[in-house]
Each structure stands twice: as C-alpha cells, then as structure tokens.
C-alpha cells in the first residue's frame, strides 16, 4: 500500500474545503491537490452513468484569447478548422509541434466574434500558453487559472438537476453549445458536453462563487465524483488522454485523432510534417479482456508470440463489467482480432473491439 505524497507547493482549487468536507481523498495531480474519490470510484461511475455526478475540474488550464480575426489566427496554430465555428459553439482540436507530434488536445468555446475561451490539460497548461504566445503575438492571452472555477455536471439526469438552478431553458442547449447563463444566481459560461461519454454540462465561473454553486448542486442531487471516476468514465467512452494515447512522439493518425486534423485548410503548424504520414504503421485500438484480469498502462501486448505494442490506458470497467484498455498496436490488427496482454508474466486473451466500450447516449 502506498500513500500519496502531498507537498506544500501544490495548488488548491476554490473547492478544496468542499472536497474535504465531502470526504474527498486528496492526491497530487498535475501540480494540484485534487480529490481522487469520495465514497468510492464504483459508486461514482454508476452515478454518472445512471443519474448525475459533479466534478471539480478547475485545475484545467483556462485561457481567454482575443484579437481581431481571432479564429483565423488560431487556425494557423491548431490542427482543426475553427474559422467556421459560430459564436455559441464549442470545438475540439489538437496542438501540434513543427514535426508531427501532439503538444496537447484542447477545447475551444467561441464566446464572441473576437474572443475564444480555451480549456487545456492541466499538465500542459504552461507549455500550451507559451506555444500560443510565441506563434500568435498579435493576440491577447489571459490565463484564468488563479481566479476561475470549472465544474462538470455529468450523467443522464444532469439537465434535470441543473434546470432546478437556472431560468434558462436547458432543453434548448444542444450538445457543444455554449452560452452565458446563471446557475444558482451565479453568472458563468455553460457548455453542453464533457469527458465522460454521458450527457452533461460544464460551467466556468468566478472561483469565489464556487462553494455556493457546488453546494447547490449537491443539494439538488448531484453526486461528488473524483479524478478516479473521471478516468474510468473517459476510458469507457474510449476518449484519449494526453500523456497516454496522445504523446509528443506520436502523430494524430497513430493516436486515432486524425479526424481532428484538417489538411485542406490553410497552412498550420505540423501540417508539412504530417502530409506524408496519413497511413500509420501503428494506431490506438480498444481492447476488451476475456477473463477477469485487469489491463494496466505499460503492460505489453503480445501477438503471434511476440510483443507488438503496449497498453496506454487500462482499467476495470464497472459499467462494462470487465477489463478494458486502449493500446498502441500494429495497424495490421483490426476489430475482431485477438491478442494477449502480459500481466505479471502470464498471458491473458483480449479482443480488439470497436470503441466506445460504453455508449451512454453520447458519441462525444
């Protein structure tokens, strides 16, 4: 049994005291002290799949970006095409380096004609901010790490629970819409979306208001959920995570995120290096274990008696009822093929399946 080491240099979100009060087990994560779980990962996963869970994701990097013709400027740095994204919509993209590797994956919220709100991975926030600023000196970047809270309300009952706290008709808010509304009397940016594979919303607002909004959501029936459940849920939905499926030495095609690269738009960082790499030799695949053994990151994948790849993320899926994983495998392997996962010197059969492992009404 190992205990997390908590040092004084870790940052705390505006909800730290709320997590402790709710029984959250605090652990270091990307420089922040965050709750890994409250009552238990299995119950929290079930809450999101069957009802409603709420996550503090204030640790994520948050950037306000503004300037004239901001979408076209951003388009020179990001892989996707944001030039046609309408005000009030949310879009996904990768940030690539000059070679062909992935610096990060990001979400953009088009809040105004000349302004985007961008959310990036906590572990990559400083790298991303420096990359944007270096390549886009004409834009204004303001990071919001210090003063802004971000929560994710996720699960099939999330609309119904949030509706008790707002006058805005949430049935009119479509997947990947964003708009400024009030939740529990607090003004912020609401978006329909998330990172769980279930229906849900994200709300970004002033940190000083965070405890009141958090308490109102718990009182309305949302179950507090930690990073443990968040990782299981995203893996059940087969959503990639930076540092696992997305890495600086893998191309978007290898990572299975080629759909987020728009080669037909005007030039962008990484485009030239990617031009001839459309057909990768390896790619991320979804694996379902046949026995009870649980696949974990780093375990070797064996095919034809030889190691051919490794697990990038693995867990026991409470919803699917067994071991699930994403793995980087030779591109010759396809859905339906069987491989073996080496777990503590024993080989366990796994089948390549079509993702996601769990479909909860959202493709995400």
């Amino acid at each position: 049994m190992t205990e997390p080491l908590i040092t004084e240099s870790l940052q705390r979100t505006a909800l730290f005291d709320e997590h402790v009060a709710a029984g959250g087990r605090m652990v270091p994560f990307a420089g922040w002290e965050m709750p890994v779980q409250y009552a238990g990962v299995i119950d929290e996963v079930r809450a999101v799949r069957e009802a409603c869970g709420v996550f503090d994701v204030s640790h994520m990097g948050q950037l306000d970006v503004s300037g004239s013709d901001v979408s076209h400027a951003l388009n020179r740095v990001i892989s996707a095409d944001w030039s046609e994204v309408a005000v009030g919509r949310v879009a996904y993209s990768l940030l690539l380096n000059e070679h062909d590797g992935i610096i990060d994956d990001i979400m953009g919220y088009r809040v105004n004609a000349d302004e985007w709100f961008i959310v990036v991975n906590a572990s990559r926030a400083e790298v991303d901010e420096a990359h944007f600023k270096a390549h886009l000196p004409e834009l204004t970047f303001q990071n919001r790490y210090a003063d802004q809270a971000m929560i994710a309300v996720q699960g099939p009952h999330s609309a119904q629970i949030l509706q008790t706290l707002t006058q805005t008709d949430l049935s009119q808010v479509a997947w990947r819409d964003c708009l400024i509304i009030q939740i529990g009397g607090v003004t912020g940016l609401l978006a329909r979306g998330g990172y769980t594979g279930s229906d849900g919303f994200e709300f970004m607002f002033k940190g000083t208001d965070a405890p009141a909004v958090w308490r109102a959501l718990l009182a309305a029936g949302a179950v507090p959920c930690g990073l443990g459940a968040r990782d299981v849920l995203r893996l059940e939905a087969a959503l990639p995570l930076y540092g696992h499926e997305l890495r600086e030495n893998w191309t978007p095609y290898e990572s299975g995120c080629g759909w987020a690269v728009k080669m037909s738009k005007a030039d962008f960082i990484g485009r030239a290096a990617l031009a001839e790499k459309h057909t990768p030799n390896s790619r991320i695949r979804a694996l379902r274990m046949e026995g009870k053994a649980i696949p974990r990151e780093g375990y070797p994948v064996i095919w034809g008696g030889v190691p051919v790849g490794e697990i990038t993320s693995g867990t026991m899926s409470p919803t699917a009822g067994g071991g699930i994983a994403l793995a980087m495998l030779p591109a010759v392997l396809n859905v339906g093929d069987s491989v073996e996962v080496e777990i503590r010197n024993n080989l366990h059969t796994a089948k390549i399946v079509k993702p996601p492992f769990v479909a909860n009404g959202r493709k995400s």
Binding site: M1, T2, E3, V36, Q37, G40, V41, I42, V45, G228, D231, V232, K292, A293, I294, R296, T315, M316, P318, R344
Partner: protein, 125 residues
C-alpha cells in the same frame, strides 16, 4: 480503523492469526480502506511457499494494483478460493471472511518481527 487485539501485524498492512503452527493471513482494515473497492485478486496455489516480506499475491481496485506481502514464511496449506470470485469480501470482512491464505509456519520466531495491535494502531494513526 478496526484493529483486533489478538492478531499480529506487518508494516505492509497484512495481519496474521496463529492457531498451532498454522498462520492465517489477510490484509488489514486500514489496507482495504486505502485501496478502495477490491475488484480483482490473484493468489498462488496451495503447496506454494511464501517468504516473509516478499509478495505472494496481488489485490486490485478499479484504479490501483497492490502487492500482498507475506508477513511470515511457510507453505500455503489453504487459500480462500471463493474470494477470487467475490473479492469485495475483503472490504466487507477483512479479518474474517476476507482472509487470504493459511500457511504452515517454517520459522515461528518470525512472528517476533511483527507488531501487536497497539503498535500497529500507533503506526497507522
């Protein structure tokens, strides 16, 4: 934290109950709580020898893998087979129904290296 008075404890959070020269071994209430809901358990077969301080099995929660270390050396004479189908019993009953293996002690003096309940309680306080 439940720490029964009659058991001996290892720093790696296993307990030992001695009956004659047979030691029953499990993980403590503290350990099961730290680990969270146990979803997978891997134990060796009866007849295998275990060595004090060395891992003999693995217990996994949804997010974590932990070795289970042998608090004493000896030959396994029985394993708690139903546990591998229902490992959450370790959470519900770490000291009774959640026992893991029974070992015929090879060196009873090894018990002296373990903590009593008071010492273990202070150790994990």
């Amino acid at each position: 934290m439940n720490v029964p008075g009659e058991l001996k404890y290892a720093q790696s959070d296993e307990w030992v109950r001695l009956e004659g020269d047979i030691a029953t071994i499990g993980v403590t209430d503290y350990a099961q709580h730290e680990l969270g809901e146990v979803v997978y358990l891997e134990l060796p077969e009866s007849g295998t020898n275990v060595t004090q301080g060395a891992a003999f099995g693995v217990v996994e929660s949804v997010k974590a893998v932990s070795d289970i270390n042998a608090p004493v050396s000896g030959e396994i004479v029985e394993i708690n087979a139903p546990l591998t189908d229902e490992p959450a019993i370790i959470n519900e009953s770490p000291y009774e129904n959640g026992w893991l293996i029974k070992v015929r002690l090879s060196d009873p003096s090894q018990l002296d290296a373990l903590m009593d309940a008071d010492a273990y309680t202070r150790y994990r306080a």
